[in-house]
């Protein structure tokens, strides 16, 4: 049960849009409606940003959106802001009735 694959880092200027990919397999992302994304600022608890592929919890900015195609999911952050600088992790339910996180992506706002 390997971690989902994410790019190590993604960067963008304020106001730009960035997309983070999350690649799994037919045993997790490809067969799951339950893909989520978390934002993690160092020293804080992770925060849920997207659940069930594309749903936003109450209070999360609509600048964050999620999608999925085949074995890959994506998180897009539009109108990038300085406060978006953090680590981002995808997660998926698996065919083994467990969950698996992605390798994590460091987002830098230039």
């Amino acid at each position: 049960q390997s971690a989902l694959t994410q790019p190590a880092s993604v960067s963008g200027s304020p106001g730009q849009s960035i997309t983070i990919s999350c690649t799994g397999s037919s045993s997790d992302v490809g067969s799951s409606k339950y893909v989520s994304w978390y934002q993690h600022h160092p020293g804080e608890a992770p925060k849920l940003m997207i659940y069930d592929v594309s749903n936003r919890p109450s209070g999360v900015s609509n600048r964050f959106s999620g999608s999925k195609s085949g074995n890959a999911a994506s998180l897009t952050i539009s109108g990038l802001q300085a406060e978006d600088e953090a680590d981002y992790y995808c997660s998926s339910y698996t065919s083994s009735n467990t969950q698996v996180f992605g390798t994590g992506t460091k987002v830098t706002v230039l």
Partner: protein, 121 residues
């Protein structure tokens, strides 16, 4: 207020045992899955396992099976993560988290503040 409150930081020696805790409040604890997540220094998040307090149904990521024990005492709304013999490689931050629902596939909407475990001779 819906929250998970974890026990404080621990410093232990290799070979020692340890049990850390996570207490839930503000939600129907017996009916909500509670999971544990590890973050080793400089590394990413790792899903360790999850427990359903109602019947203690527990699932582990294969790499953690046999290495840790997840348990619960629903009378005090608390779940535990336990090691019988710590290793230096267990040094990490450990988070508990819950979807706040009875569905194990749901995302973790609520997180504890984390417990830092340091294992050093």
């Amino acid at each position: 207020e819906v929250q998970l409150v974890q026990s404080g930081a621990e410093v232990k020696k290799p070979g020692e045992s340890l049990k850390i805790s996570c207490k839930g409040s503000g939600f129907r604890f017996p009916h909500c899955w509670i999971g544990w997540v590890r973050q080793m220094p400089g590394k990413g998040l790792e899903w360790m396992g999850i427990i359903y307090p109602g019947d203690s149904d527990t699932r582990y990521r294969p790499s953690f099976q046999g290495q840790v024990t997840i348990s619960v005492d629903k009378s005090i709304n608390t779940t535990f993560l336990q090691w019988n013999s710590l290793k230096a490689s267990d040094t990490a931050m450990y988070y508990c988290a819950t979807p706040g629902t009875g569905d194990s596939w749901d995302a973790f909407h609520i997180w504890g503040q984390g417990t830092k475990v340091t294992v050093s001779p």
